[in-house]
Symmetry: C2
Subunit: 436 residues, 2 copies
């Protein structure tokens, strides 16, 4: 603990990618990653849908995600490390308005080398058995008022991976390079001290120069660490550490839920394997034209995972506790997701929820893009707004570039990205309009 | 309550200026202002230092403040309504670094018609008796490490007013135009309902279009109001209403404190009245070159009010309660403010604190400029970061322009200001670098 060069708070995806890239570019530095849970990626990373796409409207998102995805594809297919990656693609089923409003986004993607294909309705109906494109499939569809699907937009360089496997992949590389993990260990407080301590009560005073000189730990590893640099990568929980010392984490947490629907021995069985979208013969991730309802096949579980946007849900500054934050609501699927699913896929009307869980998005409500900024001797990364995994490798590189006080990060594949773009002081990012 | 056209939550300065300008430009509209306290301006408006300046680095701040100040000057001197305004000026006592870094700001002000004067040290020493420009005056000055004052920058169109009188001035005009106030009445919840209610449990669902259709009131006026438009002007308390419905107030609250120092029958007595700065013969507001320590003469109380920046203080998402937020700390003056004051003004070493109080700044931590944005049928104004009073008249006009769906607000004096500049979606403001 005493000779730690960099303390990283949080062993979620952004903590482990930060640790990995710092160690890769600063060999010999002593990196310690602490996490309150028992292993890497057991907080909100492990609760996520772990989807990836390079299909964004914002060029910043395109660049950050595309480079990360390239690394993940390399890892799975070339380096043959299993991170559970399946490049199943994303298929947006769009109504007329969505089709026309997506046009400029599709052009921006094309200009940035990101491929999409438009599929007419006839082609969709041919490939996807049981699709009720009118939105009048079954259940309360008429009550919901579902729009007619006009066409599909398919993103081939999109898919799913296994959040747990990916996080462990990075954690293993961190350990191999000499990085240390302290699990079951929570960072409870950032201690601010004056540069020149006088020994009076009440320091630091407003007229003293001060910085974060210690991080108090509780749990298996206890005491105060005094690292030269602290990386805060604790996602939805960041405000808890930052606000007491007068810093704004610029993000809010929101509960999002996932429901695993049994496909096995149900009318849905035929839907998991669908030809024409990917070499795996799997249905792509499907995004429906209402409330961001979406689902993907999880073939090894013989299930679909379904979810939706949740715009009325409370934003939390600091979640009260894990239990509330992580408790899924059975009614939520029945009332919010199922009516939309059954409208377009009537077979969902006779399905059973096998499992459900919830996790916290860490929203940067300003522009829904991640931030990485330096404040004194801290580097703060977060606000990834539900896409931390798919941009994880790139964000770890930006953290490392900030650590080395470089102006640019080299992303996987060689693209250079100016790190100040993701700061707040010199923020210069394109807002994202294509949100799920 | 039932035929309210606009419900305004908060009768602080931004609530009353919003009410006034909406009524002025929309005669006959039924405007109801609710506030938890017993009268207008009794929350953080009444706890503020109520200073005004047009000397900002940001052209947006310059424009918004300058027009408001023109209205306040008109009110005090031409319309002869007493709002306690004294145009005493602001005097920044600067060290070498501050002088050179303020140069671009002074040029930007000049270009925007805002006057300042630079005063050499000899002139400062001549006008201000007892100034220890070396910062070695008395007490623990050497411990603090105070920089030498090199020169002064004086802003003549700056000064103080009486927050209570100003707020009552607007409240009176609101009442005269038929606006209503409900005091002792707290808005406890924003009720979100679907546009087309189905009558099922759990509405609104994610697939329904919904908006804020009701504001629940508690206290003297009880029940739920269903106004077509709601203006949220509740400053530091805004997150409490917005976050439960999934909206970010984009601001954080921070406690700031004021200390009233007895000048009467103390060595400080000679300092209140100082010639050469203003026709009133009063000392201007003095800003010292360390930790933003500043003080102003309050001649009717025979006192100085002193304060400072407080950068280590916790940011609050929602203050726990009034009592904690409003409790001043006696030690804070002794440890943080007094050591700086006595370094430059040794007479402060033998002073007595007559009174002290605290209030909450509502910080927009993104750029420290106010925001006014529309979200569905709500107009949200805040984040004024300690300068709501000095920009109050202009911000009320921006709220009214948003209410009338105008693209520009006409500020006092005829300047036009594009309202979308202060939104988040199309935010286009110059950051402020000259913060106290």
């Amino acid at each position: 603990m005493e000779d730690t060069d960099v303390l990283i708070v949080g062993a979620g995806i952004l903590g482990v990618t930060s640790a990995y890239h710092i160690l890769r570019n600063n060999p010999g530095k002593k990196v310690l990653v602490v996490d309150r849970y028992g292993a890497a990626g057991q907080g909100n990373t492990g609760r996520s849908n772990a989807m990836f796409r390079n299909t964004f409207s914002s060029r910043d998102n395109q660049t950050l995600a595309n480079a990360s995805i390239d690394y993940y594809l390399h890892t799975q297919y070339e380096a043959k490390k299993d991170i559970g990656l399946q490049q199943i693609g994303y298929l947006w089923l769009m109504n007329e308005n969505q089709l026309s409003s997506s046009e400029p986004h599709l052009k921006s993607m094309q200009a940035n080398g990101i491929q999409t294909t438009q599929l007419p309705l006839a082609e969709l109906s041919r490939r996807i058995p049981g699709l009720a494109a009118e939105g009048n499939g079954a259940g309360q569809a008429s009550l919901v008022g579902l729009p007619k699907i006009e066409a599909g937009v398919f993103g081939p360089k999109c898919g799913r991976l296994d959040a747990d496997k990916l996080t462990r992949h990075y954690a293993r590389m961190v350990t191999e390079m000499g990085g240390k993990f302290a699990f079951g260990t929570e960072a409870t407080r950032l201690a601010v001290s004056p540069k020149d301590r006088l020994g009076f009560e009440g320091e630091p005073f407003v007229w003293q120069e001060s910085s974060v000189t210690g991080v108090e730990l509780a749990g298996r590893l206890q005491g105060t660490v005094h690292p030269p640099v602290v990386v805060l990568a604790c996602g939805a929980w960041g405000n808890q550490l930052l606000e007491p010392i007068g810093l704004d984490g610029h993000c809010k947490a929101k509960k999002r839920q996932l429901f695993s629907i049994r496909a096995e021995s149900s009318p849905l069985q035929h839907l998991t394997h669908v030809k024409g979208f990917n070499p795996l013969g799997l249905l792509p991730m499907i995004i429906l034209p209402k409330a961001g309802v979406h689902f993907k096949p999880v073939n090894e579980e013989k299930a679909f995972w379904a979810a939706c946007e949740d715009n009325v849900r409370a934003l939390l500054d600091v979640p009260e506790n894990d239990l509330d934050a992580y408790r899924a609501e059975p009614d939520f699927y029945e009332r919010n997701i199922k009516p939309v699913l059954t409208g377009y896929f009537p077979e969902f009307s006779k399905t059973v929820v096998k499992a459900m869980w919830a996790g916290l998005y860490s929203y940067n409500t300003l522009d829904y893009l991640p931030f990485v900024f330096r404040e004194k001797n801290m580097i703060i990364v977060g606000g990834d707004s539900g896409s931390g995994i798919m941009k994880g490798d790139s964000l770890g590189r930006v953290v490392d570039a900030l650590y080395r006080e470089e102006q640019e990060a080299e992303l996987y594949g060689g693209t250079h990205y100016r790190v100040s773009k993701l700061s707040f002081e010199h923020r210069d990012v394109e807002k994202e309009d294509w949100v799920i």
